[in-house]
């Protein structure tokens, strides 16, 4: 578990254990200035990734403009050439990286490298190509299909790269396609859905993405390393818990619902209890526990607020609820700090055991 060195040093400084003149030097011990090699890596990655993003966005904008002077064949040729160039670039860069020669620029971390940048470029071109197909042949497809197909077609690239940014792109495209679909249709397999059910679906889809990445990372199998994407795990869990919390607030304040709300309570409590138990005992992590506790606090406050609306003397209840919120949040904070210490101790012990072996 990483400690926040900046905060530790600041705390020692405020306690008088570091003299004012040494604060800067102490921070530099914890966080030294980047050296020449670090800067070269940053500049190389920056121009590479920003260049690919700008070029990709430029091509998409160009196709969206639908320039009449350019024949359809030429438009297809531009996108397909770029796509082939990116794929070719990936094979060349990957070949160079696999040879015994040291790479000219090693990445900031495993993901930010030249082969993955090429796959990112190819993934953007897939989207541009799909949009152009729809525009040229007037396929009559709905916009949600474009995003869904885009997500499906770039899946192999994401698996090959095992790169956070590409997986994040897949997750965002799936959510966007789902959003556009429900905006247009509001039904699944002929079953008309209420808004409350759509929120639940968003929560469950993102929870599934989180589960998929967590399990794929945990299980020992050949593709394990391709699913090491903490950013995707964190954002999908956040999206899921925010959706489920919103769902519960909706359930609490939905005075005239036509659906059975008991199922939502059951779903919410089961999901929260499972996430809590998993990250408390099976795979200790502080971030999911913070999200679960914040969600539970929000649900409890919603319940109390509903009681307030039904109360005849709300003045005193406002203050009571405020104090309950303070009590709940400070209780959670206190408990999370205890757990943080416990997790850090466990991490330290397991690290010690591993180094002893």
């Amino acid at each position: 578990m990483i400690i926040r060195k900046r905060s530790e040093i600041w705390q020692w400084f405020t306690e008088g254990k570091i003299v004012p003149n040494n604060l800067n030097a102490a921070m530099l011990v914890a966080y030294p200035y980047p050296n020449e090699h670090n800067w070269l890596q940053l500049i190389a990655n920056l121009v590479l990734f920003v260049g690919i993003l700008l070029l990709g966005a430029g091509v998409i904008f160009f196709m969206a403009f639908n320039w009449d002077a350019l024949a359809n064949l030429t438009k297809f040729a531009i996108i397909e050439s770029l796509f082939v160039a990116f794929i070719g670039g990936f094979y060349l860069a990957n070949g160079v990286a696999n040879t015994s020669k040291p790479p000219k620029f090693s990445a900031l971390n495993a993901g930010w490298n030249l082969p993955n940048a090429m796959l990112l470029g190819a993934s953007i071109m897939v989207g541009a190509l799909l949009a152009l197909v729809g525009q040229t042949y007037q396929t009559g497809a709905d916009p949600w299909q474009l995003f869904a197909l885009w997500a499906v077609f770039i899946l192999p690239f994401a698996v090959i790269a095992g790169f956070d940014l590409l997986w994040l792109m897949v997750a965002v495209l799936l959510n966007v396609s789902l959003g556009i679909y429900f905006d247009s249709f509001s039904h699944v397999f002929g079953l008309l859905l209420e808004d409350i059910q759509i929120i639940a679906i968003f929560g469950l889809v993102n929870l599934s993405i989180h589960l998929l990445f967590t399990l794929a990372r945990k299980l020992t199998w050949p593709a394990q390393l391709r699913f090491q994407c903490p950013a995707v795990e964190a954002t999908s869990l956040l999206a899921s818990i925010v959706s489920l919390t919103w769902l519960m607030i909706w359930v609490v304040f939905d005075f005239d619902s036509t659906v059975n709300l008991g199922y939502y309570w059951l779903l919410y409590l089961t999901v929260m209890a499972t996430i809590f138990a998993w990250y408390r005992y099976r795979s200790p992590a502080l971030y999911p526990l913070t999200l679960v506790l914040t969600s539970l606090c929000a649900t409890i406050v919603s319940l109390l607020s509903r009681g307030l609306f039904e109360s005849h003397d709300p003045i005193g209840i406002f203050l009571l609820i405020a104090m309950i919120i303070v009590g709940l949040t400070s209780g959670c904070l206190y408990w999370l700090k205890q757990i943080q210490t416990e997790f850090t101790a466990k991490a330290k012990l397991s690290h010690k055991d591993a180094s002893d072996e």
Binding site: W12, Y33, I43, L53, L54, G58, K104, L319
Partner: protein, 383 residues
């Protein structure tokens, strides 16, 4: 390893002990026994604390409003209540000794609530006078909180609110063209002077983040994308183009100053990978890239600002600033689609041309550095 053995009775303190030992080895601390300090909270716990504090503050505000509903002079009462609660909280923050979570969270909620009442009261009391005076009063309230409160979450909230209050004064007095340049200069000043006054380190750091967030928002609001939002007319009624050019120049000057700082700092380090000629070549590439990116910012608002923040975050090892800048960079490229000042065709050409130029720079860098490494290896073989 005496310090490690002494301080690792509680294994949670192990990493702290290593850090302490590094400081001791550098002669920055007096003894080799790491103090038993509680672990600091990560950002998401502080985020949850802020959300909880805000919701509680709104309920407290509702309670006070409901309580004084029958009072004749409601405006004055709310101002007085705001002053009393705010002063009470400030006094507690300066003099209080309790570190109990409940007490700290309650004071935080009351402090936010008191500030909201104070703002309401000030607006009601001064609404018939100059708007600039109201904005000035708001600035003073937030500045006082930012300066006097040691509580990090509260300090951050005050800093976040203080910056737009200052900007509102500029907008009210028709000086809106100075908003972006002032934000950029302040950002550079704050981050570069972080350690000048060690006692103010935390204050300046939260101000640095507040300025960064406000700068990103200002870039968004003052560009064409701002039309999406229902912004006050006063904020948009100025020569945006002039302000924009001024901001681009300021970003370029700031980037050049930062590049100068970086190379000054690099020249003090032992050069491992390359030689001095190599360093000069890299400096030339860096300056060229800064100029190109600044030129790109003329049609594409916000890009150069996000890149400047990215460089600042990397130089000062501020991971959150770095992540914020990367997110802003991707957003500004995406939002450019909705920019109305040039047509989609021109936009696409700008984007493609700039993308190709950056990729060519990357290719030139790879060839240049590759050649240097090859020469170095060759020399090594000869020796």
């Amino acid at each position: 390893m005496p310090a490690m053995s002494k301080s690792t009775n509680n294994p949670a303190q192990g990493s702290q002990a290593q850090l302490w030992q590094s400081l001791f080895n550098q002669g920055l601390v007096g003894n080799d026994i790491a103090p038993d300090t509680p672990l600091s909270s990560p950002w998401y716990i502080i985020g949850a604390q802020i959300i909880g504090g805000w919701i509680a503050a709104l309920f407290i505000l509702a309670f006070v409003l409901a309580s004084i509903a029958s009072v004749d002079d409601k405006e004055q009462s709310i101002l007085v209540m705001g002053i009393l609660i705010t002063l009470g909280c400030l006094t507690y923050y300066r003099m209080g000794k309790s570190n109990q979570e409940f007490v700290l969270q309650m004071v935080f909620a009351f402090s936010i609530s008191g500030q909201l009442m104070l703002l309401w009261g000030i607006y009601d009391a001064l609404k018939h006078t100059d708007d600039g005076i109201i904005a000035l009063m708001y600035t003073l309230v937030f500045a006082l909180h930012w300066w006097l409160i040691p509580h990090k979450a509260n300090q951050f909230m005050a800093a976040i609110a203080m910056v737009p209050s200052v900007l509102a004064i500029l907008a009210i007095y028709q000086l809106s063209q100075l908003i972006l340049p002032l934000l950029i200069v302040s950002l550079m000043l704050v981050w570069s002077q972080l350690y000048r006054w060690p006692q103010c380190y935390q204050r300046l750091r939260v101000l640095g983040y507040a300025l960064s967030l406000n700068l990103l928002f200002a870039n968004f609001a003052l560009s064409d994308m701002g039309r999406w939002m229902d912004l006050p007319e006063v904020l948009l009624a100025f020569d945006a183009r002039f302000s924009h050019y001024l901001a681009v120049i300021m970003v370029l000057l700031s980037a050049l100053w930062l590049i100068h700082q970086v190379f000054n700092q690099l020249s003090t380090q032992p050069i491992e990978l390359t030689n001095t000629a190599q360093l000069s070549r890299v400096k030339f590439i860096a300056i060229l890239s800064a100029i190109l990116i600044s030129l790109l910012s003329i049609p594409m608002a916000g890009i150069s600002t996000a890149l400047l923040m990215l460089l600042l975050g990397y130089f000062y090892n501020e991971f959150k600033l770095l992540a914020l800048a990367i997110g802003a960079l991707v957003s500004f490229i995406g939002l450019y689609y909705y920019s109305l000042h040039i047509n989609l065709f021109d936009k696409s050409l700008w984007l493609m041309a700039s993308g190709v130029v950056l990729l060519l720079i990357r290719l030139a860098m790879a060839l240049s550095i590759g050649k240097t490494i090859a020469n170095k290896e060759q020399r090594h073989d000869v020796q």
